[in-house]
Every structure is written in C-alpha cells, then in structure tokens.
C-alpha cells in the first residue's frame, strides 16, 4: 500500500504542522542553498577555466606524476598511522578520567588553531633542537617531512571524530562481554570496534582529504622541490609562481576530483554500514 502526502503534514517526522510552519523551512532552505550554490559556482568556475585536454596534458608531465604519487603515498601512509594513534587518543580521552584531561584535549586541538605556516615552522624548529638535529638532514626538506606534516594534520582531524563516536558508544555491551568470556582487549575488538566502523571510515576519509589539500606546513617544513617534496598542493603553488594559471587550475581539478571521490566513497560506505545496523 502506498501513502500519499497530505497538506499540513511534516513528511520526515509524521508530525502535523500549522499553515505558517513553512517559513522556518524557507529560511533554512535558502541559507543552505545559498552556500551550496557558492561552493558549486567555485568548482564550476575552475572546471570551465580548463579543459580535459589541458588536464591530460598536465597529467602527462613527469613532475606532476611524481607529485601525484607522493601525495597519494604520503597521505595514505600518514592516514593509516594516524588512525592507530587517533584511536588510542580517543580511548584515553573518552574512557578515562584523569587530571589534565582538558589540557590534553586543548593540546590536541593545537594543529587546528595554529596558522598552517606556524605548524610547519614548529616542525622545522623542532628538528633544530639538540635531540633531533642528528636526523634533521634526513627529514627536513625531504619526503619524510611530507609524511610527518601529513601525519600531524591527519591525527588532528581523526581524533575528534573517533572521540565523539566512542563517547556515544554505550560501554555496557563491552562490559557485559567480560561475563561471556572476553578479556578487555577481545571485548573492545569484538563489541566496540564494529560499532566504530562508520566513524573510522569517516575519520580516515576526512584525514586523508585534509592531507591531500595541506599546503602551508609542507611549504615551510618540506619545501616545494620538484621530484623530491612536491605534492599536489605545492604543484599548484609552483605553477602559479611561474605564471601558468591554466596548469594550476588543471592540477586543482585533479586534487578536487581525488578528494571528492574519497569523501563520496566514504559516505556511501558509512551509509551502507548504517543500513546494516553498524552504529554506536
């Protein structure tokens, strides 16, 4: 049997509404729509500035291929490492009460509040200290600097997502699993980790997309050297520096396409998991 919509009925919640209830919906819809239109207009402007042959031409260049390679490898490796560290931090923040928890929380937010250039500068100065100076030559302005900067960014984006998901997870099933023969580790693995799957996918996708788009810290800490530390974001900067706006736009389109694909994929995966009942 099908149901037809009736006037004065809120379809989403099934709650009856009064005649002027559409006014808030109009305001909310207009504001949301205006922002989405602005974003789409920006992307469309970029897309129409370049052309598929121009993008293919840019993609054929060896330095851009190296840049894409380093971007993908570094972002993926940094995200994988970040997920392990972020899960540990999320557990500490959401499961334990200890003095200084708020301070730890604030420290973890530092990469968000620091200007990107300052973040890069902090890493650069860190490797000038006595303890790290011996390995500075192997890290600073080298590929490991890209990985380290990506890692710091990835953790700062993954932790809040995982912490929030873990905070919403009822601990009783995990606790109860102990009476069914689980150790603490197996209870967490069997009961809580499956509930975090959707959040882990979201956190990883967000962290990865942020890594791909990171520029400021990389410029200061890793530099922008062709074939050595050049990633997609620095490629755009280098192309602009030589006045090649069309190539810069073409690289931007590659970057946007990569990020949109990953974010859309993660959303679809998250939706599928929610449909399968994987939720906190």
């Amino acid at each position: 049997m099908t149901t037809s919509s009736s006037p004065g009925r809120d379809e989403s919640s099934g709650v009856s509404s009064r005649p002027k209830d559409w006014i808030p919906y109009l305001i909310v819809g207009t504001l949301a729509g205006a922002y989405v239109i602005l974003l789409l207009a920006m992307v469309v402007a970029l897309a129409t500035y370049t052309s598929p042959p121009a993008i293919l031409g840019v993609l054929a260049r060896a330095e851009i291929q190296a840049s894409i390679g380093l971007t993908l490898v570094s972002s993926t490796a940094a995200t994988a490492m970040a997920m392990v560290f972020s899960l540990a931090l999320a557990i500490v923040l959401s499961r334990f009460e200890f003095p200084g928890r708020s301070l730890l929380d604030a420290i973890l937010d530092l990469p968000h509040v620091m200007p990107p250039l300052v973040l890069g500068l902090s890493l650069l100065v860190l490797f000038q200290t006595m303890a790290l100076r011996p390995i500075a030559a192997q890290v600073v302005y080298q590929a490991p600097a890209v990985l380290l900067a990506h890692f710091v960014i990835a953790v700062s984006y993954a932790v809040p997502v995982l912490r929030s998901a873990l905070h919403q997870c009822d601990v009783r099933p995990e606790r109860f699993a102990l009476t069914l023969g689980c150790s603490r580790a197996s209870a967490f693995w069997l009961v809580t980790v499956p509930r975090l799957r959707a959040a882990m996918v979201t956190a990883a996708a967000l962290a990865w997309a942020r890594c791909v788009g990171t520029f400021g810290p990389l410029l200061v800490f890793a530099g922008a050297m062709r074939h050595r530390t050049e990633v997609l974001a620095t490629s755009i900067y280098l192309e602009l520096n030589v006045g090649d706006l069309e190539s810069a736009v073409a690289v931007s389109m590659v970057l946007i396409t990569l990020s949109v694909c990953v974010l859309t994929g993660s959303r679809l995966l998250g939706l599928r998991q929610r449909r399968q009942g994987v939720r906190p």
Partner: protein
C-alpha cells in the same frame, strides 16, 4: 552454590551491604527488595562487574572475589538484555561460544567444522524453545523488549553455566510468554543442574517460583 560473606559493594556514590546469604547447590533463589536496595548491584558484583570493598564471594566452594568476570564461568541475564548491537540474534546466541573457542580475532573461524555444526544445532534448539527461530538473522534494533530479553536468556543458557544470575529476565514479557519461559528455565535446570539467583519485582514470584527467597532491606 552461591555464597556471599559480609559483602560490601561499591555502587558509585554509595555502598551496598554488608550482605550475607547463601543459595545452596542446585537451588533457585528469588532475591526481592524495594527499589534502590541494591539487587542489581549485588548481582553485578557476583558477576565481577562491580568493585568489592569488603567481604567474599564464593561460587561452588571457590572464592572468586578477585577473579576476572570471564573466569567466573557464570551466566548473567541483565535487566535490559544488553545485546551486542552490531550482531544478529544468531551471533548474539553464539557470542560466548565464539569467545571461548579462543579465536576472537577471526570471528568466523570455528575451532573445528564438526564442533561448529554442533553449536549451530544448539542455536536451532535454543531458538525453538525461545520462539526466536524466525528472528535469527535480525539485528537487536529490530527486536521488541521481550524478544531482546529472550535472546539474552538464550545467550546465557547456551553455555550451560553452573551459576545463573537473572536480573528481572521476564519483566518485558506478556503473561503467556512469561509462563513459557519459566517452564523453559525449570526444564533447563532439570537437565543441566545449576544454581540460580533471580531478581524479581513481582511479589507473586515469591510463592510459586523458586526454592527460597532472599529479601534485601531498604
């Protein structure tokens, strides 16, 4: 046998106890008392889920006060079922079996194929008795309160524990289903002798159900 000796339990902002009682081997004891008397807290302490401040808990003749919950080998049916939310009814019924197989990293790896078939047969038998046969592939979200309680009861009975702790296991069941579950519990106890500590708010339970009554003061 379940024996508590001057047990004082940490219940967050307050303490419960001292509590002393004994449920003899193979008996079914009803624990009653006013709301807030600490019935659930005591049952959770016996299961190892609450910190014991003072006193001893003996199961059989073994002092399990300091044991990890997993080492107490008892079955617990909590008040609100507490099913594993990402697992189907079948997986919930098999949860203890999978954990005890020692291969919790490989969820779908049974110890042996023959052993696994045996457990699948047990699930079918248990789900028939609990009227859950049609719900085996459903997730807990898709169950009513009464169905969840039956799954929780089945999950505890699957392991055939020698001590069974029931925290108002029939609260969400209608009269007919409740009567069936009570019969199932009696049959289970006859076939697989176990000592039961059963919390109930229903005063009628005192007379017609269980071998003895433990009354907690307010």
């Amino acid at each position: 046998m379940i024996q508590l000796e001057t047990l004082i339990v940490d219940a967050g902002k307050q303490q419960i106890g001292p509590v002393t009682f004994q449920v003899p081997e193979g008996k079914h004891a009803m624990m009653v008392g006013p709301s807030g008397a600490g019935k659930t807290t005591i049952v959770e302490a016996i299961a190892g889920l609450r910190r014991v401040i003072r006193g001893r808990i003996l199961l059989g003749r073994v002092d399990v006060t300091a044991f990890h919950p997993a080492d107490r080998a008892l079955g617990l049916v909590p008040q609100d079922a507490v099913l594993m939310p990402t697992q189907t009814v079948r997986e919930n019924l098999l949860f203890g079996v999978r954990v005890s197989s020692g291969k919790w990293l490989g969820w779908r790896t049974p110890r042996t194929q023959r052993g696994w078939m045996h457990w699948q047969e047990r699930v079918c038998e248990m789900s028939d008795q609990l009227f859950l046969s049609d719900l085996l592939e459903r997730s807990p979200d898709e169950l009513s309160g009464g169905q969840k309680q039956r799954v929780a009861l089945g999950r505890a009975l699957m392991m055939r524990p020698s001590v069974l702790l029931l925290d108002e296991p029939f609260a969400a069941l209608d009269a007919a289903m409740r009567s069936r579950m009570e019969s199932l519990l009696d049959e289970h106890r006859q076939r697989h002798p176990c000592t039961i500590l059963h919390i109930s708010h229903d005063h009628d339970d005192r007379g017609r159900f269980g071998d003895l009554v433990i009354e907690l003061p307010a």
